[in-house]
Amino acid sequence: MDLELMINSFPKLLSAAVITLKLLSVSLIIGLFIGLLFAILRLNKNIFINRFAYGYSYVFRGTPLLVQIFIIYFGLGQIEYLRSTVLWAILKEPYWCAIIAFALNTGAYTSEILRSAFQTIKPGIIEAGKSLGISSKVIFYKIQIPIAIRQSLPAYGNEIILMMKGTSLASTVTIMDLTGVAKYIISTTFKPIEVFIVAGGIYLFMTFIIHNFIKFLEKKYSFN
């Protein structure tokens, strides 16, 4: 055990953890919007819209996140047309490519979580709203969405933790996040166990915080 290395690498890894958290929070926020949009599309009665939304979530859940990042980072740059548009300013940055991939990925999972939450809402609640003369738009925004969000909290908490682990793939496109820095230290010192303990400890601490935060929200918004 090289305690000195562990102590020395701790501040470096901690500052890299900030990048991990940034990647996570930005992609979660964008992903939540994508997820909500596609969950609503999934509930649409039009078969084409419905199928399109299903296809999106099927493809993104059926392929590894690594492939998705590589397609966006290495693949899209190949299209000549894209290089001439404004989008290129975003797509040439590995940081934004990673965020786009993460957001699309978590969006697919979130849409599934929200869809099943929408479907488990008892029809009686919606009928009650209708019989009170509330318009269906208001029912959707004031009744269905809040209930769906509450229903999906436990599953969404899991998704946040999975996504946090997913951000480690940003290190494959040259971003120095927690895993990227950990790998760099391992490959320069050849002390994998020490670095793993420190970096893994930081990840576990973040998991712990997220887990308890979701538990707190669940309790706060519980029906009882």
Partner: protein, 230 residues
């Protein structure tokens, strides 16, 4: 399409073997995961607090730490550990362990943590009466486990195990960082040499989709088979 030709002119045969490699690594990892689950599920269900603690630490750590970090630990640490053991026996040359074994083992440990949780949940949701009935029938420990508990556990566990399989299959793409030539690594090589990353990574995505699709169909059949009588 020429890019996918078999033989020397295209990447078809290389990608085909890479797909077989992905399947082989996934199955090996899943199997190693089952072995881990076989050890840790009883520990989780045990009444002994210390054994509980060990099993809980295993599942918590694995499920809270990124897969990539675990793979780096095994990739860099595995060689070190083997060389350390070898140095005790007086062998000081550099030893490289097979990327397949390291990769399958790393993914297997991850998959094992998920499988453990699935088996624990399944055993816990079996009606208490089943255990009691088995006792009343005078079955011994093995008979009770293999004839009564295991078949029912499998029925409840298969839908969740199919999720674990999907996760394991997708996680094998991460082994590409260690140089094992599976779908991801082969696409990386092909993309580098033809300068056509968009095509090859998209094709890799299609291969993964195909694998998940086919395996889902097979698992659904298994599910039907184990639900006979319900």
């Amino acid at each position: 399409m020429e890019l996918l030709a078999f033989g020397d002119t295209g990447w078809g045969d290389e990608l085909f073997y890479a797909t077989l490699m992905t399947i082989a690594v996934s199955i090996t990892a899943m199997f190693i995961g089952f072995l881990f689950a076989l050890i840790f599920t009883p520990l989780k269900l045990s009444k002994n607090k210390f054994l509980n603690f060990i099993a809980n630490s295993y599942t918590t750590i694995i499920r809270g730490v990124p897969e990539l970090l675990v793979i780096y630990l095994f990739f860099f640490g595995g060689t070190g550990a083997v060389m350390f053991v070898a140095s005790i026996f007086g062998y000081n040359e550099y030893i490289e362990i097979n990327a397949f074994i390291t990769g399958a083992f790393a993914i297997g440990i991850i998959s094992g943590a998920y499988s453990t949780e699935v088996f624990r949940g399944a055993i816990q949701s079996i009606d208490k009466g089943q255990f009691e009935a088995a006792n009343v029938l005078g079955l011994n420990k093995f008979g009770k486990f293999f004839k009564i508990i295991l078949p029912q556990t499998l029925r409840l566990a298969i839908p969740n195990l199919s999720n674990v399989w999907q996760i394991t299959l997708k996680d094998t793409s991460l082994i590409s960082v260690t140089g094992l030539v599976e779908i991801m690594r082969q696409s990386y090589i092909a993309a580098g040499s033809t300068r056509d990353p968009l095509f090859f990574y998209s094709f890799a995505a299609v291969l993964y989709l195909l694998l998940t699709f086919v395996s889902m169909k097979l698992i659904n059949r298994l599910e039907v088979r184990y639900s006979r009588g319900y």
